[in-house]
Structures are given as C-alpha cells and as structure tokens.
Subunit: 334 residues, 2 copies
C-alpha cells in the first residue's frame, strides 16, 4: 500500500540501510547520496511508518497526559505547557480525559501502556497507587500533576491546595463573613479534600465561624448551577454568607444561579470565590475572585521532571495566589 524504505532504496539505487542513515544521520552519508535518496523520497512521497520505528525502538516518543476534565480551561492550560516543553525535546503529548471517573482513567492508562508511551503525566481521580506502581514496574515513568504524591518515589508537580484553601477562607473571613460554605466534590478528589482542609484550618481561628459542605458529584458548571439552586431555595437566614467553590467552573455555575434570582446579591448577600483563576473568571457577571495556579508552568515542569531535565526537585511545589475581584470584596449586608 504505502511506500517503504525498500522502494525508496531501489529507486535511489542504494540499500535500505543507507536510506535509514539518510533519514537519521545524514552526516554519515556522502552528500550526493543524500541528495539522490532525498530525491527518491520526494518523488515517491515516502512517509516514515511510525509503528515500525517504534516497534524497533521499543518505546515511543510520546507522553501520555490524563486530565480530570478536558473542558476545564485550567487543564487545557496545563496541557499547553506540557506540550510546549515536550516539543522542545522532540516529544509529543497525547491528551486523555478521565472525566473524574476511575474506570475511564484506568482505560486510558491501559491504552497508554499498549502504546508504550515514553512516560505518563497523571492527575489521578482518586488513589491510583496500584496503577502507578504497575506502570513503574514496567519502566514507564509517571509524574503526578496538580497533586502531591504520597510516595516520594513518584515525582509530582503540585500547588499546595491546603494553603490555597486557607487563602480563600481567610480572605472571606477577613471581610467579615462567618457562615462559610464549600461547594465541590467528590471528596475522593484530593484537590477537593485539601482545599476543604485548608479552609477548615483557617476557620479554626475564628470560634464564631462555621463551614458547611455543599457536595457536588463533579467540578462542573452544571453542578455549580445545581448547588446554586439549592441555596436559592433556602430561607435567607439559612443561607451561607460566603461560598468557596472547588474550582472556577463550579463558582461560575453557582454565580449564574444566584444572580438569576435577582434577589440574592453577590457579594453583598453572598461572597464567592473560586479556584484556578481561569481566563473566564475575570469576565464573569460579577468578576470572580479566585485562587490562581500557574497552570502552564505546572504542565511544563511535569514534563521536565519526566524527562529528567536539569537538577529539579522531584517534588515540585508552587504557591497559589489569591486574586481578589468583585465577587468577594466588601462587607456582608447585616
């Protein structure tokens, strides 16, 4: 069907070995031979068969990236950083979406294994310890993304979510809020757990403050809207005076529900803060406060750790940054 090195070799009047050398180390081939082979390649429209290369090489020049939600701009930013860094090292990145489901995560990892990817970048849904060990046993390096690893043998790139959660909560407390709520889930996602923990710790310093959990089944706009409707249905006195959302998608959904009623004002009645500081946070109905994570940098560093570039700390930690916008400033209405 398609043109192979053999045919190119025949057309150029050389051996297959020489064609391969022209392709991979042209400096070891006489200039006019290179020209002749190149001409044959162009004439026949030869395109390398990657499967054959890979089979021979034993592993591919591809990195697998499994994210929790491909529709979340945060993860796409991470992916972009990873892709940039990978390209610089002659590698490409395969993006897979687990949709926060362990079964899908497992399926994607299995596929990556079959493809003999060079390495895996993973934002685990829950505790993927077993899968990770399995991959490592096969010699496939794994780097955890946006999540600190319990096992020091597994490199990871993370932003301290406990600090991030504390930043968010303290910010709300500072402006006088006391009836805080956290909207997000499922709790099996480590990021959610840590952010809640950070918030709890910050609140502990205020005896008159409390944190209520408003669980969701996923960190999406739709789930945020649902939580928003729940809040709206409550009697005003029962409502929290500040909500910390698990990420910006949830926050934006929530914001939509709250604003739609017309009777609840943000931030006067309910202050709101999200997480990730995606591009869209700044242009929300009420510009959304958020805890920023350096998404592209996370992706880039993960790739660098995987490829062993330089002398990097295998447990990379970045600091989250509070971005205060209108959705959380000002005093609560009494």
């Amino acid at each position: 069907m398609s043109v192979s090195v053999r045919e190119v070799a025949a057309a150029a009047g050389v051996s297959v070995g020489t064609v391969s050398n022209v392709l991979n180390r042209p400096d070891r081939v006489a200039p006019d031979t290179v020209a002749r082979v190149q001409a044959a390649i162009d004439a026949l429209g030869f395109v390398r068969n990657d499967a054959a290369r890979q089979l021979r090489a034993g592993r591919s020049r591809t990195l697998g990236l499994v994210v929790l939600d491909a529709r979340n701009p945060f993860f796409m930013d991470v992916a972009r950083g990873a892709e940039e860094a990978a390209t610089e090292h002659g590698m490409s990145v395969l993006i897979a979406n687990s949709d926060e489901r362990t079964d899908r995560e497992a399926r994607h990892l299995e596929l990556f294994e079959q493809q003999r990817v060079f390495g895996v970048l993973l934002t685990p849904v829950a505790d993927a310890g077993a899968q990770i060990d399995r991959l490592r046993a096969r010699g496939v390096p794994v780097v955890l993304v946006d999540r600190a690893s319990a096992d020091p043998a597994t490199p990871s790139v993370a932003v301290d979510d406990v600090i991030g959660g504390a930043l968010a909560a303290r910010h709300l407390l500072d402006s006088g809020r006391r009836r805080l709520a956290f909207a997000g889930g499922p709790a099996s996602i480590r990021q959610v757990e840590d952010r809640v923990r950070g918030a709890r710790e910050a609140i502990a310093a205020y005896p008159d403050a409390a944190l209520e959990l408003l669980p969701t089944t996923a960190l999406t706009v739709a789930e945020g809207r649902a939580v928003g409707r729940l809040i709206v249905e409550r009697a005003p006195a029962e409502r929290p005076d500040a909500v910390f959302a698990g990420n910006d998608l949830v926050a934006l959904g929530l914001l939509q529900s709250l604003v739609m009623t017309g009777s609840i004002r943000v931030p006067e009645d309910i202050a709101l803060i999200g997480y990730d500081d995606i591009d869209f946070a700044a242009s929300a109905v009420v510009p959304l406060s958020s805890v920023r994570q350096p998404a592209e940098l996370i992706g880039r560093r993960a790739v660098e750790l995987l490829l062993g570039v330089g002398e990097l700390d295998p447990q990379a930690r970045f600091h989250p940054e509070l971005i205060a916008r209108e959705s959380s400033v000002g005093r609560p209405r009494l």
Copy 2:
C-alpha cells in the same frame, strides 16, 4: 524488556498463534486453552504492543483531530462529541492544536500521516487543499470540521456561517443599531470570512447601516481585550453602537475591556454578540448573546462520516441558532 506473546505462549505451553487467537478470536480456541493462556497473561503481566499490531495491520485504530484552538471550549466540545462517537466504534481520537497557524497544522498532519491514522478530522486554518489531496491520495479519509468543503469529494460537517453571521447582524439591526463593527480575524480563516459575509448581506438591506472591520490576529480573549481597548480610546461619536465578535472568546475579552472603563455600558452604548455560545457566555459580566453551534453533534457527525456509518449526507449542514441575552437587548442610547 517487556513481555511478548512468545513468552506467554511458552508459559501456557501453546504456540504464539494460539495466544494471538485467544486475544482476538477467543471463540475459535478451546475453552480450557483460553483459560490457560489467560492465566499466563495475567501471571506475566502481558500487555499487547500496539506498535507491532499496527505495523502488521497497516493502519491504526486512531483518528486524528486538528482543531484551531484547544483552549476554546467550543472545540473541546467538538472533540468530546468526536471521542464519544469514536469510542462507540472501537477507535480513539488524537487531539492536535494548530493554534490557527498553518505551519503547526502541517506539522500535525505530517505526524498523523507517520502514525498511519485511520482518518483525519480537520478544521483547516486556511486553504489546506493540497495537504488534503495528499492525504486522500494515500488512502487516508479526511473530513472537514466546522467548515464546508469546496471540493465535493471531501466530506464536511459545517454550520452555515453566512446564515449565522446574518442572524447576528440582523439581530443587532432589529434593535436599532446602525454603526456595526465586526471584531475578529485573521480573514484567512473561512469561518471569519463567512460570518462577515453574512453580516454584510444582512446590512445591505439597511441603506443607513454600515459595517466596520476590527481585525484581530487570532480569535482569543486577549485579542478581544485589545480590540476593546481600541474602541475605548476613541471619541464616543466614533465608536460603533454594536459589535459582532468572531467568536465568544473575542466577545468576552471585548466585554471585559468595555466594562472596565465604567463609562461604556453594554448593551446601552454598545450592543455585543459573540459566536459559538460556549458555556461561559451565559455567565459573563453581561450575559452574552451568541450564535449557537451544536458542537458535540458536529464532532460526532464528523466521525460518523469518516467511518461511513449509515447513509449520511457527506456534506452535513447544521443550522446556527440565535441566543439573545442581555448583551444585545434593548435600544441604543440616543
């Protein structure tokens, strides 16, 4: 390094052919043999080598998708639709991002060719006719996504952007706007060209209306902000009274710039409408009007056309739908 069928065969006391049969057509193998081989597979932790399979098969079970901008939720929605449909047929989808650059597009297509993908779904940056012909000459089916094809031999899935552009413009004209502007670019992107054309046609019916072009180098939030700043800098009388943005990202960026000044009100001073109706449009500062495209359906149909499912029209056309929200309702301030 890694376990091969040969070793599994040895462990199970059968031939390699039988192992392969257990893997691919277990019904042709005696039940107890299947069990024995399966046990060996589990014991040794055998994982198929996809490169070898592919080499033997000649092509992969993978579809390549090249989008204009992976950070645009619209394309991620398209990708999700494509992935769903592909999975139903035992295929997977590789997502590549051209970032609206022909060189990146070409590079990705080249990589897909090397990987002997089963087919390519492409949203071309400009006129990729040559590349498409090349692929087809190799027997790689190509389907154009979100773009009608000039060549009837190339299947495509598109939403009529001329109609969409007309919808948007007419909507603005209906509410009394006359000094319209289109913000977007580059003009080499067909979608942009068509949307402008549609707007022009709609405006032609109003002798007192005019359309100004505010070109951008890409359809991004940042470019939208830049255009917004340009408008803000003008004397009020010089400003358009309605802006039709090339897509929602540009519209949201623009909205941010306009609202930030405090002196320009949307929609009173300037009405605004975007394109795509991404999730975030509804939760913008001023809820954004938009022209909705059925993103997931586009992706799904593209895959179905590629795989030749059912008796579908190879030139699929969907209709855009006007979603009017606050950013464009009401009369202009006189």
